[in-house]
């Protein structure tokens, strides 16, 4: 899932677990996954399935995945995938419940790496979360500096490079050092007096926003067109909230976004529906120039959110681009709509 896999891989390998990482998502992953999935299910399921099958081809014998009980389909992925994968082969299937992520992960690692001590396991989890948060920071820096730089592509490449460095870091200090260094270099590419570029809020479903293959690299495309993107879904922030804060009762997603979403929305609907509404309303009030809502085709919580989003953009006079993505979406189709959307906000910004 985007940048998430590298730190997790490094974490497992540092505990001497042999990892067969699924190859990056490609056309083949999509086709393989679609072939072995129910037709009407959402895109993340199909991509997961493709990842599993390609991972098994590379010799994996245990599949580790996440699963969360709730109103969204994600909570039931594992059950169906397990049945489908068990046909004709021996696979151990381990799913970590997102509601109990820290204890589940700890238990899994203790079993997968029996030689590693308790402290090493706890330390490796903490380092992985730290890395994910550093990657978030780097991505935010890219989104901020990219549209302000003369050559946005250079910032994007720098971010790629930095992500690789951070994934392989062995200590907190190394992570901090790489993050600050790369962010600093990014900053040095920008003029201090660069004008404020148009700002767009990117909201929607977790998986689609985190996996660049699934969202067709929207962020980079926007940066290249000189648009500052604020993405509200972040892997590190999520892992931090779910593992550490939630375990100690310091975080409650529902309470967090409920205040933000009123008066358009007043209840948690599972998945990221409430968050999409809350963050869209926040951005509208902060004077953003447009909202992009991206989610897998048929995503239940996001459809509920869409009813509210339509009203928010109407009330605040904002352009809204809705990207409902399935396995048939093409790079060109998304790019065309994105360009038209950017033209629209740029013209609107110049008029007013």
């Amino acid at each position: 899932m985007g940048n998430m896999s590298a730190p997790v891989r490094h974490m497992l390998e540092s505990l001497a677990v042999e990892v067969a990482e699924a190859p990056p998502i490609s056309r083949r992953t999509v086709e393989l996954g679609t072939l072995h999935s129910p037709e009407g299910v959402c895109l993340p399921y199909k991509l997961n399935m493709g990842n599993f099958l390609e991972g098994l081809e590379r010799g994996a014998d245990t599949i580790v995945t996440m699963c969360g009980a709730g109103k969204c389909r994600f909570g039931f992925y594992g059950a169906v995938q397990q049945t489908a994968l068990a046909k004709g082969r021996e696979v151990a299937f381990c799913s970590l419940d997102t509601e109990r992520l820290l204890p589940d992960m700890y238990r899994f690692l203790r079993r997968a790496a029996p030689a590693a001590g308790r402290l090493a396991v706890a330390g490796s989890i903490a380092l992985a979360v730290k890395k994910l948060r550093a990657l978030d920071a780097l991505n935010d820096a890219k989104n901020y500096f990219g549209p302000r730089a003369d050559a946005p592509q250079r910032i994007i490449d720098l971010c790629e490079y930095g992500a690789g460095e951070i994934a392989l870091a062995d200590s907190f200090a190394e992570v901090n050092y790489s993050r600050d260094l790369i962010a600093g270099v990014m900053g040095s590419y920008c003029r201090a007096d660069a004008p404020q570029p148009p700002r767009v809020a990117l909201v929607g479903e977790f998986y689609v926003l985190l996996e660049p293959y699934a969202n067709h690299w929207i962020e980079n495309a926007l940066i290249r067109q000189g648009v500052e993107v604020k993405k509200f879904v972040r892997a590190g922030g999520w892992a931090y909230a779910k593992t550490l804060l939630q375990t100690f009762g310091l975080f409650n997603e529902e309470r967090e976004y409920l205040e933000q979403a009123r008066p358009y929305f007043s209840h948690h609907v599972g998945g990221d529906g409430l968050k999409s509404v809350g963050t869209s309303l926040w951005s509208a009030r902060q004077g953003y120039d447009g909202i992009i809502h991206a989610f897998p085709f048929g995503c239940m919580p996001e459809i509920v959110a869409q009813y509210a989003l339509k009203n928010i953009v109407a009330d605040y006079g904002l352009p809204l681009l809705t990207l409902s993505i399935d396995e048939h979406a093409s790079d060109v189709g998304i790019a065309t709509r994105l360009e038209a959307f950017v033209d629209c906000i740029k013209r609107k910004k110049n008029v007013t």
Partner: protein, 302 residues
């Protein structure tokens, strides 16, 4: 303005409608329920809804719209979960927000009791909201709910016995709707085929049956379907199973696959999974039901 409450004849109305009607009638509030589904209602709903919404939700919006002119309040409960062990689909939790955002209604025209079985005092709070919205005290509300519940339970129909040949399994709001699953039931009835639906089995039995699945199905309505499928698959007098679903139903898209792999294929009985959408042309459905019934007959002759 005199108070009158409108209840859309869609979604969970088909399970709790009589209870809700009884509650308001006992309080002395006039209740109007929208008329049975017609093509016009569905078309209106489909044009109001976000394109990707599931068919039952589109239908709900159509029904809700037909009530706006004739009632001062709309009753749109927010049922996040009413059974401790299960969730409902996201659309039930968001239903009041969907209705409010679609029609731009002011909050005081909606009666929105919050039903969330995992929260303490949710029952009393729900009654307080519902009774308060029509200007009655919580106490009167509780009394009226007690009477409505007694009447509702007394006429509860499931007896667990239905001499049947074919089991038609689907959400109650699909099977009870004349335009959706009702058509399939009518097709079978037209061929003198006796049918059984999950409603013929007491709910407790269905949940008990559903609990035998591991990992558990965590949507409540889907758990009922899973329990019913397992129940009917094991019953010797059931010769075939029809699974009815709607396009865009999130839980069904996974649970149907799960049931197919784990129950339907294993039980050896003929089965068909029919997915309905809002497009006209019912010949497709009729063809499949007939082909399925031919298969059942053919199997029985063997």
């Amino acid at each position: 303005m005199t108070i009158s409450v409108g209840i859309p004849r869609a979604l969970l109305f088909h399970e709790f409608g009589e209870l809700w009607q009884g509650f308001f009638t006992n309080l002395g509030i006039p209740v109007s329920v929208s008329a049975a589904t017609t093509k016009t209602v569905l078309d209106r709903g489909a044009s109001l809804a976000v394109d990707e919404s599931c068919l039952p939700l589109k239908l709900y919006l159509g029904h809700a719209e037909s009530l706006l002119g004739c009632s001062s309040h709309l009753f749109v409960p927010r049922i996040a979960c009413y059974h401790r062990d299960y969730y409902l689909c996201a659309k039930f939790a968001g239903l009041p927000d969907i209705v409010r955002n679609t029609f731009g209604l002011s909050a005081d025209r909606l009666i929105v009791p919050d039903v969330d079985g995992r929260r303490p005092l949710c029952g009393i709070n729900a009654v307080r909201t519902a009774a308060g919205a029509v200007g009655r005290s919580t106490f009167a509300g509780l009394a009226s709910l007690r009477r409505a519940l007694a009447a509702w339970r007394a006429q509860s129909r499931a007896d667990g016995t239905a001499g049947a040949k074919v089991a038609v399994i689907g959400h109650s709001y699909i099977l009870h709707d004349p335009l959706l699953g009702g058509e399939i039931l009518a097709l079978l009835a037209g061929r003198n085929v006796a049918t059984a639906t999950p409603d013929d089995i007491p709910a407790g039995e269905l949940y008990a049956e559903a609990k035998k699945f591991a990992p558990a199905v965590h949507w409540q309505l889907s758990a009922k379907l899973a329990g019913a499928t397992r129940h009917f698959a094991l019953r010797p007098d059931i010769a075939g199973l029809v699974l009815v679903s709607c396009f865009g139903c999130g839980p069904d898209s996974l649970v149907n696959e799960y049931l197919e792999q784990r129950v339907l294929k294993a039980c050896g009985k003929p089965y068909v999974i029919i997915s309905l959408d809002e497009h006209t042309g019912r010949a497709g459905v009729a063809t499949r039901v007939e082909a399925f019934w031919d298969l059942v007959e053919w199997r029985r002759r063997l």
